[in-house]
Symmetry: C2
Subunit: 223 residues, 2 copies
Amino acid sequence: MTRAIVLLSGGLDSATVLAQALAQNFACYALTINYGQRHNAEIRAAVEIAKIAGAVEHRVVKIDYGQFGGSALTDATLAVPTDASDGIPITYVPARNTVMLAIALGWAEVVAANNIFIGVNAVDYSGYPDCRPEFVAAFENLARLATKSGVEGDPINIEAPLIEMRKSEIIELGMRLGVDYHATVSCYQADDSGRACGECDACRLRRSGFNEAGLADPTRYFA
Amino acid sequence: MTRAIVLLSGGLDSATVLAQALAQNFACYALTINYGQRHNAEIRAAVEIAKIAGAVEHRVVKIDYGQFGGSALTDATLAVPTDASDGIPITYVPARNTVMLAIALGWAEVVAANNIFIGVNAVDYSGYPDCRPEFVAAFENLARLATKSGVEGDPINIEAPLIEMRKSEIIELGMRLGVDYHATVSCYQADDSGRACGECDACRLRRSGFNEAGLADPTRYFA
């Protein structure tokens, strides 16, 4: 079986990507990065999802990244916005996807995985620069030059299968693949038990995704 | 003053790069990544060097990266080789420079630095893929696409001023800039007080650099 690293945040998108990679018969090495995000419940959700879905292995890598601040997701003094705004929002974590893919690249080299899956999405998203197809392509080019396997002619591919999909399409796909969305946590300020606020960008996108798909929303809200 | 992030390992090369960036009048934000390397003395050296040189700020970011293993620098069960070998050696840490630059990129965004300095070197080096000019260029391209500032037309440059220099040239440059090499630790298996083995690749390159430059080697050896 071909091996793949799957970045797994505990949210809806990455749970769907894991199911896709498993459906494509990859031996999946799930990887969660704990970068000091407020929503720690997401990390516990990732542990649960990796187990249920059948990942070969699941690792959580802690990185002391919150010390830089600069994002409402890692800095408790900044409020998570509850209304849509123009431009790149304050929930943007500087260089987050670059850091996560870099760590995934390291593990990919160690376990000889040829693919890294990431659940970034450029459509129903908040305008983060590191969720765009050109970012993914640039990282794939970097990966080819950065690694022993790339130098030896066996490069590591970056797979972003959700990148052009709407949230409702992602949910429909996940339902067909048997993803249990009840276990996933998308909220930027979920409480300790994983219940969602229903008001932040991530909650609103998720809720309207279930609505558009005509499916019951299994999210647990605290409001 | 224009701000720069300077990756500072505590070794000879990055101490020289910090001195260069300061000589170019950058306000320097020194960044050390603790990725579980064996040579912890290097990190203490970095703290010392940042202070002596006059960095505006110095941060140490800890990342739980050693759990992946795969390198003699992070896996205590693998011996550090003491003879030169062909190909990429076992001291190669998978995707290390990608991870370090990614973290530097995040901090650069937060403090609005337009430059990231890294002391990689492609000449007197051990054949690591992520020390080559094409790697640095690919990361710079990625940085342009990955960040808010890049999207807004103010990209972050990656500066690798040592990349084409021989070790002896780096040392001569550093001596002119007043770098105190006594404080630096290059050894892959330095002891707790920072004394060097004199036998690993890093020690041999460093020693022959001082020899070629015709300068006294200030390194403290334990043998």
